[in-house]
Each structure stands twice: as structure tokens, then as C-alpha cells.
């Protein structure tokens, strides 16, 4: 067995830690996320409140842990939906070209020409708000850029001679897409995917802010950061815990993506 590069291991542990912390919030959080501590409005970090309290007298650390569930779910689910639909479409469009490519790409152009937020709002507006709905809406939005990236890598790959060789021995379409194209397009897809996770978390924050995402008193990281804006000067710690959690997640995801790319590339994996 090859040993994955240390960065992947580190990022994996960090990400696992975040996931465990969020999932185990019921046990780990010092307080329920919506408990009001009457005497301590905007209390600065202390032993009682490790990350301070917010303007509604709630413990920021507890809210960050509970919020992680929502943010992580949104980031992963939306990116998953986007990859599941976008990658096959991009591979197919890039490999087949012609009318299919033309129609697909123009359709995606239409999707991409809408402001991202408007499109998600449009999808959410017709149904009652909920995290699942938001994830599907953001996922649909992600299909377009992911398909685009996949297609552009594929366009470069299809001219390579090993693809022609595969056609010359009469390989099925699914084999060419899965075994010949996908592994070679994977580095670009992984990078795009890890960026999308971060973007989904941010987009979720904006939606929550507008009242379409997470419903108060629950809050995801994005909403917490957004709410803290008014208190930047008086209570800067409000943004600290959710901000750190978000940065750590985004960095870990992209490191993991990058590491995965190296792990999958025989050229880099064989380096001595």
C-alpha cells in the first residue's frame, strides 16, 4: 500500500474532528444552542463562555458546534448533488461534442447568467423553507460550473491518442468516460469540488440572512458571522468561533482534495 502524503492525513483528521464535534454537539456543547443567559449579554470569552455570548445572551461556542451540522450538511450535500449531475454531463458533452454539447452548454449558460442568489431564491420560493430544499437548490446551481470545468478538461483529453486507441478497439461509451477520461479529469474536478463546498457554506449564510435558509433561533456559521457584523467593534469574538470553524473546514477540504489528487496520480505517488 502506498502511504498518502502527510497533508491528506492531517486534513483528514482535522475534518474528522470538525464532523465529530458537530455531530456530537448534544454532548460536547456546554449549553443548549438556544439557552439564554440573562445576565451575560455580549459577554467576552471567559471560562464560563469559552467563545463569549451574543447579543441574545446565548453561548457562541455551543451555537458554533450546533451550527456546524447545518453548514457541513449544506456544503457536502450541495456539492455532492452538483458533482453527481455535473461531472457526467461535462464528460459526455466534452467527449461527444456536436449538438448535445451545444444544447447542454447553452442551457448551462442560461443557468449561469442568473445571479446565483436569485436562482436559488427562485427554487426555494415555491416551496416552504428547509435545509434539504436549500441543499438541492444550491446543488442545482452547482451543476453548471462543475459541468463546465469537467467539459473543458475533457475537451483537452479527447484529442489524446489513448482515447483514440480506446475507440479503435471499440470500447463502450461508459468505459471511455469512466476509466479513460474521469481519472484524468479528476484533479480539476477535485479542486473545483473543494471550492464548491466552501461556496455552498457561504451561500447558505446569505440565504439564512435573508430568511430562506436556517430558521432562527437555530443558526449556521454563515448566519452567525453575518449577525456579528453589527458588533465588530464592541464584540469581535462573535465572529471568531464560527469564522475559525469555517476557515478550518474550507482549508481542510481543499487540502484533502489536493492530497487526494496527488494520492490518485501515479506520477506523484511514486515519488521517492
Amino acid at each position: 500500500m502506498r502511504l498518502p502524503p502527510w497533508r491528506v492525513i492531517l486534513a483528514g483528521y482535522v475534518l474528522a474532528g470538525i464532523v465529530v464535534a458537530a455531530a456530537g454537539a448534544d454532548w460536547l456543547a456546554p449549553y443548549p444552542f438556544d439557552e439564554l443567559h440573562v445576565a451575560d449579554r455580549l459577554h467576552s470569552p471567559s471560562l464560563a463562555y469559552l467563545a463569549g455570548t451574543d447579543e441574545y445572551r446565548r453561548d457562541v461556542l455551543s451555537r458554533t458546534l450546533y451550527g456546524g451540522r447545518l453548514s457541513l450538511f449544506l456544503g457536502v450535500a450541495a456539492t455532492g448533488i452538483g458533482l453527481a449531475a455535473g461531472v457526467p454531463l461535462g464528460l459526455l458533452a466534452g467527449y461527444r461534442r456536436g449538438l448535445l454539447d451545444e444544447v447542454l452548454m447553452r442551457a448551462l449558460d442560461v443557468v449561469m447568467s442568473f445571479p446565483a442568489l436569485l436562482l436559488v431564491l427562485l427554487i426555494i420560493a415555491v416551496t416552504p423553507p428547509g435545509l434539504g430544499k436549500t441543499a438541492v437548490a444550491v446543488g442545482i446551481l452547482f451543476v453548471a460550473p462543475i459541468a463546465r470545468v469537467t467539459r473543458s478538461v475533457t475537451l483537452d483529453l479527447v484529442t489524446r491518442e489513448f482515447i483514440v486507441a480506446a475507440r479503435a478497439r471499440g470500447e463502450r461509451l461508459s468505459y471511455i468516460l469512466r476509466r479513460e477520461l474521469l481519472p484524468n479529469a479528476w484533479p480539476a474536478i477535485v479542486v473545483e469540488g473543494s471550492l464548491r463546498v466552501a461556496f455552498a457554506i457561504l451561500l447558505g449564510a446569505v440565504l439564512s440572512f435573508l430568511g430562506f435558509g436556517v430558521q432562527p433561533p437555530a443558526a449556521d456559521w454563515g448566519l452567525m458571522i453575518n449577525n456579528s457584523r453589527d458588533f465588530v467593534e464592541t464584540a469581535p469574538w462573535l465572529a471568531l468561533a464560527p469564522g475559525a470553524a469555517m476557515s478550518l473546514t474550507v482549508i481542510a477540504v481543499s487540502l484533502l482534495g489536493d492530497g487526494l489528487r496527488e494520492y490518485l496520480d501515479p506520477r506523484l505517488a511514486y515519488r521517492q
Binding site: 489513448f162 486507441a165 479503435a168 501515479p266 506520477r267 511514486y270
Partner: protein
Amino acid sequence: MTPLLALRDLTVTYATEAGRLTAARAVSFDLAAGEALGLVGKSTIAGAILDLLGDGATVEGDILFESVDLSELDAKRRRKLLGHRIGAVFQDPFTALDPAMTIGRQIAEPLVEHLRLRPKSAMERACELLADMGIDQPRRIAAAYPHQLSGGMRQRALIAAAVACEPPLLVLDEPTTALDVTVEAQILSLLAELRQRKQVGLLFISHNLAVVRKLCDRIAVLYASQIVEEGAAAEVLRRPLHPYAKGLIASLPPLRPAERAARLPSIGGRPAGLAAPPSGCFFHPRCAFAEPRCRAEAQTLLDVGSGHSVRCWKYDATGNWPSGAPPGLTRIWAADGTLVRAVALRKRFPAVRGLAALNLDWSGRLPRLRYRPTYTIAVDHISLSIDAGETLGLVGESGCGKSTLGRLLLRLIKASSGTAEFAGADVQRLKGRALRRFRQGAQIVFQNADSSLNPRLSVGEAIGRPLYLFDGGTLAERERQVLELLDMVQLPRSYRRRYPFQLSGGERQRVAIARALATRPRFIVCDEPMSALDVSVQAAIVNLLADLRDAFGLAYLFISHDLAVVAQLAGRIAVMYRGSICELGSARDVLCSPRHPYTQALLAALPATARERVSGCSPFRARHSFCTGRRPGRLPFSGALSA
């Protein structure tokens, strides 16, 4: 007199994660003003002189240019010399020019930078330089962008830029490798003329011995980081002393039929690793004359008189490099007539289509919208046939439709009209089972060894896949067959676990051949399979193809722009020019008494050593100035030759 350029014990090492690689080891030579020295081997030395090696490389030793040690100059002063006193021309004219800048500006830039000319007069000078390079309408070309020019034109523009400041030294790194033979001949004579007229010293790095011979007075052959032989070019090429040089020169396929053996002499084994070269003489594991002493003793460069030196202790005791091994495989097939046939095959590609092809037609009373796509014809009514066990050579310059024809025969692209037949059936109409049988029977080996293998699949997976597709068998059976195929292409069995990036170009090409053979094909299209390989590897692959053909009755369509390689393999040769076949006949007839003026031009463009090898054909000598008895002004290909 001090030499223009002198290298003293130049050693270049790279720190890599695999350890320290020594790319050049104590390399010393002198280059006098106006002299041309050919280096056969590594580009590292050019990189060291031009300071292009980057941070990973350590350069030791002296690089004395006009008695100044370049390696001791600081970066700024050194950069001032480059482009001003030392010009450089690189291999690929397609990537060396900035696509967003006109040709004129790119040539004028060093003039403004180094000679402090005003932009306007620099531009004037650029046009003069282009005219000097034998370009007809210099002003028009100066205003053009690189993509508007052919490869030969671009290389001329690059040379013009390199000599703009009239440097006394020009470093050329494989400047003609990417060009067609006819264009190569023009660039070489341009360089020879420049040297004569302006007394420019040339340092010419190339793998192509014939080209080096044409241009250089002296030649230095490098093997695994060391100079192994150095001397007058004519002397070294005619009477090489070092075994490696002998092998290299023997591997060149001869054009003259009488000299042609069934197999080419070749150098076996792998090139010596740079990280841990063999003990003693670096060449001994591959040397035909090796003895125990060669393994024990490191070799020094011995002076053998008249400026000739060689790194071999028994240089005077070795004979000729042994000729090719007899085929080890026995013939197991019987000829059964025509296998592949093309009848009036035609392919046109749309050049302008879609919205751009919509025009308004104002000829009537009311304007009408018309759809008028335009086409370029890549293959124009070609008919030919190939028998089982036969090799048909297909030659022509790049862009003439050779590859398109090969792909039409394999049904990789759709023909516009005409038919391609395989074993009597029209390949365009095959379906289901019959199509599978055709796919199994007709395979392809590509030009570019870099992209012909999927970088994510191991050698075993790549070769095993067609086995899985076509005859199934159990996993164990397939694995056994993979090993047999590796044996067949003479690769070690352990290679099945390797990935393409761990193989050399020649080894990758062998894997690609094994992959094609795995389907048990009867017909293989070889699309310039040698173009990226150096001569010793090329000879080994040519022999391999010949062995397989003779043993299994394979039919090849062998596409190449190298007449000599084609001549070695093919019984018949088809010469293609702008989409149609202009001459088709037995290899002997086509090479010795070419009828079509384009074939004659192709032969005339071959560099001197190759042509010497045909001089035995008396009819060719009479004809090779290709206009005898014809009207030269109306040759159909005059456009191509003026490129």
C-alpha cells in the same frame, strides 16, 4: 587565439527526490569564431550556457565566452549578453513565439533592448533581417502574427530574432526537429549561409546525425552525461571509433536497397541512468564489444590525433557494430491476398460552418439568407490496397492528409464518400458482431508516445484491457498473455506494474505496440511511430515491427515523413501530396527512379548523409534536380516548397 566559447569541466547536477542526477559530467570543448560544432545528445549544455536550467540545477566548471566566465557573472550582466552576444533558437517554432505579438515586434525587441535603437528604425531593421532570411515579403510577414505563418516561416523569424544583434555565437537546440524534410533542408542551408556571411559560431544540438553532418565541421557525441567521442564531423561519421557512435551511425536506415539488410543494427538495453550510472565505462552494459575490463575501469578521453578523441580504451580494436539479429520468431501464416482496400475514399472537413456560414445573398430583388459552409478536402479520392503480410509506406509532409487516411481505414472518422474495405467488407456498414471483429482485426499505433498511453493505467492494465475485451479468458490466462506480449515487444516482465511516466519514449512506444497486438490484429496503422524517438531506439522498433510482420503476417500502413525509415520496412511506397496520392509503386522504383516531381523534391531535400546512401541508384542521380524535362514554373507543389 582564444576560442569564442570554451567549456572547461562543465558539470551539471540536479537535486531531485530520487537523488542527485548528473546530466553533464566534466564536459570540455572549444568553439572557434565562425566554427560549427554539433553536439549529439543532451540539451542540458545549451541550458547551462543560456542560464535556463532553473534553481534545481547546480552548474560547476567554467563557461568561457570571449574569455569571460559566464557562470561567475551576476544575473543582470549575464542577461545582457544573452540575445545581444549570444543568440538562441529552440526546437519548437510553434511555441517559441509569443502568439499575441507581431513577428516584426518580436524581432525588433532585442534591437531596442540591447542596441538602444528607436522602435521605428528597429522595425526597419527587422524587415531587413526577414529579407535576409529569404522571406519574400518581409513587411507583410513583419505585420503578421505567428499563427498566420507556417512552421518553416516561424523558424526563420526565430532565427532572424536570434541574429538581430549580430551575435558572434548562435546556440541551436534541435531547431529542425519539428519541421518537414523539405523545410528542414531550407533552414539548414539558411544557417550555413549565415555562418559563411556573418562568421557566426554555431553550437548545434541535435539527435539527427544527418543534419549535424550537413551543417557542422566538428562533432561531439555524448552518452550518459559524458562526451564519448569528438572530432571532425566527416571523420567521426565515416569512421566512428567509440562503440556508441558506431551503433548510432549503424542504426540509421539506409535508403539504398542494396545496402539494406532485413533488420537494422540496433543498440540494445536502456540508456544509462543519470542518478547511478554503471561502473567503469558508462556504455559497457549495452556495448557489443564489452569485456570485464570495461566494467572495472572508468574511461578517459584519449587523444587519437588530428583533433579526434574517444573515450574507449580499445577504440582501435573494435570492428563494425554487429548488424541486426535475425528474427527470432518463425513464420506461422500463409498469404491470403488483399486485406485492406480503399476505393475512391474521400474526406472533407468543414472549415466554416454554423452561424459564420450564414450569408445574405443580395443578388435577387430581396436579400435572402443562405447557408454556405466551406470545406477543406483532407483526403481526395484515394484508392489503394494492402495485402496480408505487406507493409505499405505512406509519406508526405505534415498536413497532407496521411493521418486522416489512416483513421478513415480504421473507421475512426466517417468518410465523406467512397469506401474502405477490410477483409472484403465495407467498414462503414459494419454493425454488432462484425464491427467487433473489425475492431479486433484493425489496430493503430500512434506518433506521440507521450499521449498514446493513459497516464492513470499501469502497463499491465493497458495491455490487459484489449485482452479482456476480445477473448475474455480467466484473469490468470490474461495475466499470462500480458507477460507474453511484454516478451514479444522485448520489455522486462516486471514492467507490467509500471506507469507510463516511468518509461522512456521507446519503451512507451513498445507498450503501445503490445497494446495494439493484444487484440491479435491483422492490420495495424502505424501513424509516424518513430517521429519522437532517436535513431538507436528507432532502429529497435523498426526491427520489432518487421519481426512481428514476418511472424504473424501483419499488414501495416506505415505513415511517416522519413523516407529512409519507410524504405526499411515497406515493400511499396505511396507518396501523398495535398490529399491525393501522387506516386505509388515499389519502394525501389519510388526511391531510385521517382516519376512525380514532388517525390523527386522530397528525395532531393534529404540531408547529405542520407542522400549519399542513395547515390548508388544511378537513375536518381540523373533526376534529383527535379525539373529535368518539365516545366518548373508550373509544378503543382511550388507553394509548399517556398514555405
